[in-house]
């Protein structure tokens, strides 16, 4: 659905996007992460055929972004960073206007307006001027605009910013539904928890370059090392190290706990439990040490991984 290769954008002498290559299939969500000014919005604008790439190429929904700009734009739903709504227009009229621009007939426009306003809880304010809306309501309306023509590709810049937790949940659920409906989705966000929750792939972009890219799991392994487990015990170890089976390496321990790395944890963990029980060491819990995307992000951004190879995304 979205394929780019060596995408670059040069503004005079400033290289805003430098060789971005991504591949997002139907039914996949790619989260584009990076600090402000990293080149996320410029990349999205190129994918929307609003800006022309200076080098490289991109195909969106099967269309070339340079040669078939109008077709690309017709196939893409965009939630822009700034919502850019018309304050004096009522919500329903606003959506209908965009429906006209996308060439929808009056009957389907009316139906779609009702559907989307209902979906985002805006039905009772359909005749209210957008200028009177709260930030969250505007965000939902802008998202409804992006979805209005039911595009196969969605490019969403900060889809839940300024939303209350309930609305944000509603939007995240919508994104999941869209992914299930075989849409290809790119999300630009600073909300790392949201990215982790929704994305099949993560790409971290810095100074116009993708510095790391892959599935959340692959990125964690590549950047944070193998998964670490922790065992909580019912009695003190008294300075002794428990006997552990082959494939398990203790990395740290306290009075009644220890942490370890395991090669093939699906086999090593049962063996470890069995060994501990045989040694009469009471086990309260065994769990994986949680590792957040935030750790991955900070590690990637902090220079050390600028030159690392991009791991396989799948």
């Amino acid at each position: 659905m979205i394929v780019t290769e060596g995408l670059c954008k040069l503004f005079d002498s400033f290289l805003a996007v430098d060789g971005v290559s991504i591949h997002v299939r139907a039914g996949e969500v790619l989260a584009l992460l990076g600090p402000n000014g990293a080149g996320k919005t410029t990349t999205v604008r190129m994918l929307t055929s609003v800006l022309k790439p200076s080098r490289g190429w991109a195909r969106v929904a099967g269309y070339d972004v340079v040669e078939q700009g109008a077709k690309v734009r017709a196939a893409v739903g965009v939630l822009t960073e700034q919502h850019g709504l018309y304050g004096r227009m009522p919500a329903a009229e606003y959506l209908d206007f965009f429906g006209q621009l996308y060439g929808l007939n009056p009957a389907s426009r009316g139906k779609r307006v009702d559907q989307l306003l209902e979906k985002f809880g805006l039905q009772n304010v359909r005749r209210q001027r957008i200028g009177e809306f709260s930030k969250g309501m505007r965000q939902k309306l802008a998202l409804a605009r992006a979805l209005f023509h039911d595009p196969p590709v969605l490019l969403l810049d900060e889809p839940t910013s300024a939303m209350d937790p309930e609305s944000a949940r509603l939007v995240r659920d919508s994104i999941r539904d869209l992914r299930s409906a075989e849409r290809a989705i790119v999300i630009c966000t600073h909300n790392l928890a949201e990215a982790e929750e929704l994305a099949d792939q993560i790409a971290i972009i810095r100074r116009g370059k993708i510095i790391v890219q892959g599935t959340p799991k692959a990125l964690k392994e590549t950047l944070l090392g193998p998964v670490e487990f922790e065992v909580r015990l019912g009695s003190a170890l008294n300075g002794r190290s428990p006997q552990v089976p082959a494939g398990v390496r203790i990395t740290a321990q306290g009075t009644d706990w220890f942490r370890y790395h395991a090669i093939q944890p699906e086999h090593a963990n049962p063996r470890l439990l069995r060994a501990l029980l045989e040694q009469d060491v009471p086990v309260i819990s065994l769990h994986e040490i949680p590792r957040s995307l935030e750790q991955v992000y900070l590690k990637a951004i902090n220079h050390a991984y600028e030159t690392m190879e991009v791991p396989d995304a799948r």
Binding site: F11, V76, T80, F98
Partner: protein, 474 residues
């Protein structure tokens, strides 16, 4: 074709509907459509009665068409505000981005907005004209000539298009309505000149001249639309950061255009000044032709405004002519500098006027001396004196330097003024203008100033002495 226009009309419809939700636009339009024409109607009636009491019926007769033009113009002045709001306001509020992400092509968006900014003020203007005419007809039975009415309607329409298309060009240089309002002086000032000129025509009652004004503005509108279409595109709208007044950048851009890579004055002439002249080939030819036309027009006027015979007794210019000039200390360095500075002032005036009128008013200023030369040449020819000898005595000695200087500065002004109407691919209008200003400065400093200095020296020390040699005692 209609299918291609439909998206543009969707934009137009939305914007017009939006305008009618804004009382800041509705109230001025209503006032200018209903109240203002009624007031003009009253004024015309009162003024006609007043001047009739003193037998000056011609003033009243000419006041009514003039007010007809004014009534038509005032509502369309709102189009400038609407256009700036529509083009820059959308950029400022970021509401343009969702439109740019839609399947609309750049020209559809441009056309939709152009129509939205032009149509409501124009309709208001036509209604205002209607209110004014109906009122006058009912009060004093006055109706305009059909030709004049057509001219006024066309003039009003084309002026609205010029203002809106100019506003788009201005808008392309800014991302805030505030900055756009400041830059709008590039539209308001020429329009003011134009309206003043048209007012003179209305009182002069030589309405055929209005056709030229209409044709001229159609050409200007076409040029502005061409520039607007080339600048109003997704890449320019979202790909550039404007509005930052970067003085350092401005100075360095100008300096690069002015000095280039020259290392010495000789190098500068070779690498910068002469190549600039080559770039100015077409404007140079155009100005030379225009000045020649000016001379011919001046010569033609000599038959209309005939000089009295005693004013052309050139054979009386004997030795006493030079003695007389010596007596008033004409042959002095101070006089050279006075002539030089006078010519420089004219060049500067022409440049300033040219900047605000796509070069047109600047060229008109430069045409004046050529028309005068033509006029006097025609006059002496009419008096039986050889025009060639007249030229040889009075014009050629210093004109050999002064006329090329006029042509050079005219070409540089045309390039400078024309920058707004001629898109430069890959450059902002500001960048292109600074480069044109660099070229103008090169021409002025490198060529015009020395040429005018030489011309002033010749005009003070040589021409007056040649005149009696050629004409004295004949």
């Amino acid at each position: 074709m209609l299918a291609e226009l439909r998206p543009a009309l969707i934009i137009t419809r939305r914007e017009i509907r939006d305008q009618f939700r804004d009382w800041r636009i509705i109230i001025p339009i209503l006032v200018l459509t209903v109240l203002f024409p009624s007031l003009m109607n009253f004024t015309a009636h009162q003024a006609a009665n007043f001047v009739q009491r003193y037998g000056a019926t011609a003033v009243g007769d000419r006041l009514m068409p003039f007010l007809l033009m004014v009534v038509g113009f005032f509502p369309i002045s709102v189009s400038l505000v609407i256009a700036l709001e529509s083009f820059v306001g959308e950029k400022e509020r970021h509401s343009i981005e969702p439109l740019l992400c839609s399947p609309l092509s750049d020209w559809q968006l441009y056309l939709g907005k152009l129509l939205a900014a032009t149509v409501p003020p124009l309709i208001a203007s036509y209604i205002g004209i209607g209110v004014y005419l109906i009122g006058l007809y009912r009060k004093i039975g006055w109706t305009p000539e059909p030709d004049l009415l057509v001219q006024i309607l066309l003039l009003t329409t084309v002026q609205a298009v010029v203002m809106v298309s100019g506003a788009v060009v201005v808008s392309s240089q800014t991302t805030s309505v505030r900055a756009a309002n400041l830059l709008a002086s590039f539209i308001i000032i020429p329009m003011t000149f134009l309206i003043q000129g048209e007012s003179v025509v209305m009182f002069w009652a030589n309405y055929d001249v209005l056709w030229w004004a209409i044709i001229g503005q159609i050409v200007v509108a076409a040029l502005l639309i061409r520039t607007g279409v080339s600048k109003f595109n997704r890449e320019e709208l979202l790909g550039r950061e404007l509005d930052v007044i970067n003085l350092r950048w401005g100075i360095s851009t100008f300096w690069r255009a002015f000095i280039g890579h020259a290392t010495s004055p000789f190098d500068w002439y070779q690498k910068e000044v002469f190549p600039t002249l080559r770039r100015l080939n077409m404007p140079l030819g155009l100005i030379a032709a225009t000045l020649a036309v000016g001379m011919v027009v001046g010569a033609g006027q000599a038959r209309v405004f005939v000089l009295p015979a005693d004013a052309l007794q050139l054979e009386n210019l004997g030795k006493g002519f030079v003695t007389g000039l010596e007596a008033i200390r004409f042959f002095s360095v101070e006089n050279v500098s006075a002539v030089w500075l006078h010519n420089l002032r004219v060049m500067m005036l022409a440049t300033v006027l040219g900047i605000f009128s796509f070069g047109v008013l600047g060229i008109l200023v430069l045409m004046v001396p050529m028309m005068l030369i033509g006029y006097f040449t025609g006059a002496v020819a009419g008096a039986g004196i050889s025009p060639w000898l007249f030229m040889l005595a009075f014009v050629v000695p210093h004109g050999i330097l002064e006329v090329p200087a006029i042509i050079l500065v005219g070409a540089a002004i045309l390039r400078l003024g024309g920058t707004l109407a001629a898109p430069s691919p890959g450059k902002t209008i500001g960048e292109a203008w600074l480069q044109a200003f660099g070229d103008w400065t090169k021409v002025i400093v490198g060529l015009v100033l020395p040429l005018l200095l030489g011309a002033a020296l010749l005009e003070v020390f040589v021409t007056p002495k040649l005149v009696p040699l050629i004409f004295g005692g004949r």
